[in-house]
C-alpha cells in the first residue's frame, strides 16, 4: 500500500542529491485492558506507526522521520535529512546494506492471537483480579494489572537492493497485588507472556503475584556488611543488562567502555557464558534481520569468562575490519542506527537453587532491585541499588529484608561470580530480553541500619 509512496520518496531524494536512500517503517497495533473491582477500568485500543528515512550524500548519513505517512511529508523528509547530513562532521564511513547474506527462516507471528474475542481477554483479567484477591485475606488491593497485546510490522527497503519485512506479536498479562498486615504493606508482581493467548494461566499469575507480595511481609532492614550475595534469576538479568552497552563496539570505539582492548582476555569468572541468540523460537527479541537489514546470527559474547566479540553494526564493523554481527538496532522509527543485543542467554549451572545457598553462613538473597536507571554507572562500573529479598543464615533462607542497598562494581563482580543454579528464566523486566539462572557472588556490600 505504501510502495508507490516510497518510490516517489526515493525519486525526490535522488533529485535532492542523495546517492543511496533507505526507509524503515514500523506499524503496530496495541490492545491494553485493566480491570478494577470487577469492572473494566481502562481499555486502550490503538494503531500507529511511522517511517524513518535516511540517505547518504557526500559520504554523510542524514536522518528524518514522520508519523504522517502521506505525500505531504515526502519533501520535508528529504529536506530535513539533507540538512541533517550537512552538519555531520564524523568521518566514519557509512553504509546501506545490499540485502546479501543468509537469512534464517523464522516465524514468530501467531495470526490467531488477534482473532481471540476481546470478551475472552476481558474475562481473563476479571478472573485474574478475583483470583488474586481470593488468594489470601492479607491481599487487600491490586495496584496495577493489565492485559497487553502488541503486533508489530517492520519493513526496510533501500535503493541498494534490500527489501525485508517481518511481523511479530505477543500478549502479556500481569498483576501487582498489595499485601497488608497491620501497618506493614508490601507489593508483588506476577506475569505471563506468550504469543498464544491460551498459554496464559490465571492460576499461575495469581499465585506467583500474591506469593511475591506475601513473602515480603515482616521484612526488616539489616546492619551494613560485606557478605556473599545470591541474586534471583530474573533480577540478575536486570542488573546485567543495564551494563550491556559495554559490549557495544560503538561505545568501545568512542572510548566509552572499559572493555576496550579486552577481546580474547578473561573478564569474568569461568562459570559465565553469555550468548546472543536472535533465532530462538517464541523469544521476544528474535528476528532474522537487524535494523540495517543485515542477517542475524547466534554467537557467544563471553565464553567461560573470556570476551569473544563486541556487538557490531555495519559502521563499527568496517572500522574494526570485521563483519557486522547483525546487531544494528533502532529504538523506533524515531531513532538513528545504534547497537543492541537480541535474546541474551546466560548459561545456567547444574546445581539446584537450594544447593547454591548451602555453604553460605551469612548472606543475602536479592529478589528485587530498584532504581536501575539511576543507581548504576556504566562508565566506572559502580552500582548502588535499593533492594529487597531474604537474609541467608546457615545455608538457608531466613527472614525477608528490605530498606537496604546492595553495592559493588560490575567489573569486579564479573570475576566474583561463584556459580549459577539451574533455575534458568527469561525476564521482561531487563532492558534486553535476557535469561539467567540465580547467581552466587562472592562478596558485595549491603547497607542498612
Amino acid at each position: 500500500m505504501y510502495k508507490q509512496l516510497i518510490d516517489n520518496l526515493f525519486t525526490l531524494g535522488a533529485q535532492k542529491g542523495f546517492e543511496a536512500q533507505e526507509i524503515y517503517m514500523l506499524k503496530s497495533k496495541n490492545v491494553e485492558i485493566s480491570v478494577y473491582d470487577g469492572e473494566i477500568d481502562k481499555y486502550n485500543l490503538s494503531e500507529d506507526g511511522g517511517v524513518s528515512y535516511r540517505g547518504i550524500v557526500g559520504g554523510k548519513m542524514g536522518y528524518a522521520y514522520t508519523e504522517i505517512l502521506d505525500a505531504s511529508q515526502l519533501q520535508m523528509l528529504v529536506d530535513e535529512a539533507f540538512g541533517n547530513a550537512s552538519v555531520i562532521e564524523s568521518e566514519d564511513k557509512v553504509f546501506l546494506h545490499d540485502g546479501t547474506g543468509e537469512y534464517a527462516a523464522l516465524d514468530n507471528f501467531n495470526p490467531s492471537l488477534s482473532l481471540v474475542p476481546m470478551k475472552e481477554k476481558i474475562d481473563f483479567m476479571l478472573a485474574l483480579e478475583a483470583k488474586v484477591k481470593a488468594f489470601d485475606p492479607r491481599i487487600k488491593n491490586i495496584t496495577h494489572n493489565s492485559y497487553d497485546e502488541v503486533e508489530t510490522y517492520r519493513w526496510i527497503k533501500n535503493t541498494k537492493g534490500l527489501d525485508v519485512e517481518d511481523r511479530v506479536n505477543y500478549c502479556l498479562a500481569y498483576a501487582m497485588p498489595v499485601a497488608t498486615d497491620g501497618e506493614d504493606t508490601r507489593t508483588g508482581i506476577g506475569y505471563a507472556i506468550s504469543n498464544d493467548f491460551y498459554e496464559l494461566s490465571v492460576d499461575k499469575i495469581a499465585e506467583e503475584s500474591a506469593k511475591d507480595a506475601l513473602q515480603m511481609l515482616g521484612a526488616k532492614s539489616l546492619k551494613s556488611k560485606k557478605c556473599p550475595v545470591v541474586i534471583k534469576n530474573e533480577t540478575f538479568t536486570q542488573l546485567f543488562s543495564a551494563y550491556m552497552g559495554l559490549f557495544s563496539a560503538e561505545r568501545v570505539q568512542k572510548n566509552l567502555s572499559s572493555m576496550a582492548g579486552k577481546l580474547e582476555t578473561v573478564i569474568a569468572s569461568e562459570v559465565l557464558t553469555l550468548i546472543d541468540d536472535p533465532h530462538l523460537h517464541k523469544a521476544l527479541a528474535s528476528s532474522r534481520f537487524d535494523a540495517e537489514g543485515v542477517a542475524t546470527a547466534k554467537k557467544a559474547i563471553i565464553e567461560k569468562g573470556v570476551l569473544k566479540t563486541f556487538l557490531h553494526n555495519l559502521k563499527t564493523a568496517a572500522k574494526d575490519g570485521v563483519d557486522s554481527t547483525g546487531n544494528a538496532s533502532k529504538g523506533s522509527y524515531k531513532g538513528t542506527i545504534g547497537i543492541a543485543a537480541s535474546n541474551l542467554i546466560i548459561q545456567p549451572g547444574n546445581q539446584t537453587f537450594d544447593a547454591l545457598l548451602e555453604d553460605i553462613e551469612d548472606g543475602v538473597y536479592v529478589t528485587s532491585l530498584q532504581g536501575l536507571h539511576a543507581g548504576i554507572d556504566p562508565i566506572s562500573g559502580d552500582f548502588s541499588l535499593q533492594c529487597s529479598g531474604f537474609s541467608i543464615k546457615s545455608g538457608k533462607l531466613d527472614f525477608p529484608v528490605s530498606k537496604i542497598t546492595v553495592a559493588g562494581n560490575f567489573f569486579e563482580m564479573l570475576k566474583q561470580i561463584e556459580a549459577f543454579a539451574d533455575d534458568f528464566k527469561f525476564s521482561i523486566f531487563s532492558s534486553d530480553y535476557m535469561g539467567s539462572a540465580s547467581c552466587k557472588i562472592g562478596g558485595l556490600t549491603i547497607s542498612g541500619e
Partner: protein, 462 residues
C-alpha cells in the same frame, strides 16, 4: 489542526454508546536532536510526530484510543470502535465550544526550530571544548542538544476547546575522565521552556567545565561509606528527594485507589514543620510549565504541604470523579499515545531560614550530596531511592574528601519528618519523569536541606 465541526462529529461518535464524557487531543510536534562526540557532530535527527487521542469516560471507567490519520471519516470510525467497548444508551448532547482566550504566559522569543543547525553545532562546540580542555584526564566528551515544539488542541464534551504550544530546549554535556583502566563520567545539563534565547542567558562553557570537573573530581574519589547518617542535599536537582519521597505519592494516580502512603492524610502532619512544598505549572517558561495541562485545564500553583501539614493532592479529571475532589490543572501525558493522568509539573520545596554553612557545621560525620541523579519510588510502600553523582564527606563540621557510588534510600513519611533544616538558597533543576502516562519534562527544585538520618548505600565501612 482539526476544525470544530469535525471534532464535534468525533465527540458525538465517541458518546454514541452512553459515555458521560469524551475528549479529543490533537498533537503536532517537531523534534530536533544533535549529538557531538569529541567535538565532531556524529548524529543529527529531526522529525514530526502527529496523532490524535480520543478518550471516553463512563462512570469511573475509561476507554482510550489513538491514531495517526486525520481524515474525518477515519476519526469517526476510530471513535465508534472505542465507544463499542462501552454499552449504554446515548444521552442527548449539545456541545457549545467556548474558545478560551487565556493570554499565553510562556512566551518564546526565538523559536528553536527557526535557528540553523550550524548555530546549534557552534553552541555545542563551546561546551565540548570547555570540557575537553579542562584537564588532561578528560578522554571523551559527548554533547547532546535537543529542542521541540509541540502544538496541541484539546476539546471535550463539556465545551472546552483550547490550543497550546509548548517549546522545550535542552543541552547536556557528558565528560569522561580516565586514568589507566579507571574511568569516571560527569554529567551536567540545562533544560528550559524558553526558546533559543536561553543560550544568551546561560554559559554553556560553564556546563562543559562543570561536567569535566565532576568527572575528574570523582575519578579518584574513594567509595562512599555505608550506613545511616545525616545528609545535606544541595539545591536545584536535590529536589529529586521530594519528587520521589513524596511527590509521586501525592498524584491521584496512586491516591484515588488508596495505593499511597499519603492517602487519607489531608490536614495531617506528614512532614517536619520546616517543610512547605508546591507543584506549580505556571512558573514562566519553566521545564514543567504550560498554559494548559493535557486535559485543557489552565495550570495552577498547588500547595501540597504547608509547614508540614498535607494540604492537597494532584488530581486529574478521571480520578477527581472517584475522589470527589476538584481537578488541579496538572494532568499530563508524553504524547497522544498516552491517556493523561495526574503528574507533577514543577515541584518545589520552598525556602527556609537556615544557612547552608550552619547545616554543614552542625554535622560531626555525614554526607554532603552536591549533585544528585535520578531515582524511583514504590508509592504503595513509600520506599524510594535516588542516586548521588557527586558527594563529599562531612567531618567535624567541614566538607572534606569526595566519595562516589552512593544511593540514598528511605521511606517517604520517615524522611519528610527527618528534614531538620531548610536553607534559603532555592534553585531549580530539570529532569525527565517516567510514569503511567509516559516520560515528561518535570521541573524540580529546593534550597539545600539537612536530613537528620538517611540510609546511604555505599561500599565502605563508616
Amino acid at each position: 489542526m482539526l476544525s470544530k465541526p469535525v471534532i464535534k462529529e468525533v465527540l458525538a461518535a465517541a458518546m454514541s454508546t452512553g459515555g458521560d464524557f469524551a475528549e479529543v487531543f490533537v498533537e503536532d510536534r517537531f523534534n530536533n536532536s544533535i549529538e557531538m562526540v569529541k567535538g565532531k557532530v556524529e548524529r543529527s535527527l529531526s522529525g514530526r510526530d502527529f496523532g490524535i487521542g480520543i478518550r471516553i469516560f463512563q462512570g469511573h471507567n475509561s476507554v482510550y484510543t489513538y491514531t495517526c490519520e486525520k481524515e474525518p471519516q477515519h476519526l469517526v470510525e476510530v471513535a465508534k470502535k472505542a465507544a463499542a467497548a462501552l454499552s449504554g444508551i446515548p444521552k442527548g448532547m449539545g456541545i457549545d465550544f467556548a474558545m478560551e482566550s487565556r493570554t499565553p504566559s510562556h512566551q518564546v522569543k526565538i523559536m528553536p526550530g527557526s535557528v540553523s543547525k550550524m548555530r546549534k553545532v557552534e553552541l555545542m562546540k563551546l561546551g565540548s571544548s570547555a570540557a575537553m580542555s579542562y584537564d588532561a584526564a578528560i578522554q571523551q566528551v559527548v554533547v547532546n542538544y535537543l529542542d521541540y515544539t509541540q502544538n496541541v488542541l484539546i476539546a471535550n464534551t463539556e465545551g472546552r476547546f483550547v490550543e497550546d504550544q509548548r517549546t522545550r530546549t535542552r543541552y547536556i554535556v557528558n565528560a569522561v575522565a580516565q586514568d589507566g583502566e579507571r574511568m569516571q563520567n560527569g554529567n551536567i545539563g540545562k533544560g528550559s521552556g524558553k526558546g533559543f534565547e536561553l543560550y544568551d542567558e546561560i554559559d554553556v562553557s560553564w556546563i562543559g567545565k562543570e561536567a569535566a570537573r565532576m568527572a575528574t573530581t570523582m575519578l579518584h574519589a574513594k567509595s562512599s561509606p555505608s550506613g545511616k547518617f545525616p545528609v545535606v542535599l544541595d539545591n536545584k536537582f536535590g529536589g529529586v528527594i521530594f519528587h520521589e519521597a513524596c511527590g509521586h505519592g501525592l498524584e491521584a494516580t496512586s491516591v484515588a485507589k488508596g495505593n499511597s502512603v499519603f492517602a487519607g492524610k489531608l490536614g495531617q502532619k506528614v512532614a517536619s514543620e520546616v517543610v512547605s512544598a508546591v507543584d506549580d505549572g505556571t512558573v514562566p517558561n519553566e521545564w514543567g510549565s504550560a498554559n494548559y495541562d493535557d486535559e485543557g485545564t489552565p495550570t495552577q500553583r498547588n500547595v501540597l504541604i504547608e509547614n508540614g501539614i498535607l494540604k492537597g493532592y494532584m488530581i486529574d479529571k478521571l480520578n477527581s470523579i472517584r475522589m470527589e475532589m476538584a481537578i488541579t490543572g496538572s494532568s499530563r501525558r508524553q504524547s497522544y499515545k498516552y491517556a493523561p493522568t495526574s503528574r507533577m509539573t514543577n515541584t518545589y520545596i520552598l525556602n527556609g531560614t537556615h544557612k547552608f554553612e550552619d547545616m554543614i557545621a552542625s554535622i560531626e560525620y555525614g554526607l554532603y550530596a552536591k549533585y544528585l541523579g535520578g531515582g524511583s519510588v514504590n508509592t504503595t510502600t513509600g520506599e524510594f531511592n535516588f542516586a548521588v553523582q557527586e558527594a563529599y564527606l562531612i567531618e567535624n563540621g567541614k566538607i572534606t574528601a569526595p566519595v562516589k557510588g552512593a544511593t540514598l534510600i528511605g521511606t517517604g513519611l520517615e524522611v519528610l519528618n527527618q528534614i531538620e533544616m531548610v536553607s534559603d538558597n532555592f534553585d531549580s533543576g530539570e529532569g525527565m519523569c517516567g510514569s503511567v502516562s509516559g516520560s515528561i519534562p518535570a521541573g524540580l527544585g529546593q534550597p539545600a536541606l539537612k536530613v537528620s538520618e538517611i540510609t546511604v548505600g555505599g561500599r565502605e565501612e563508616a
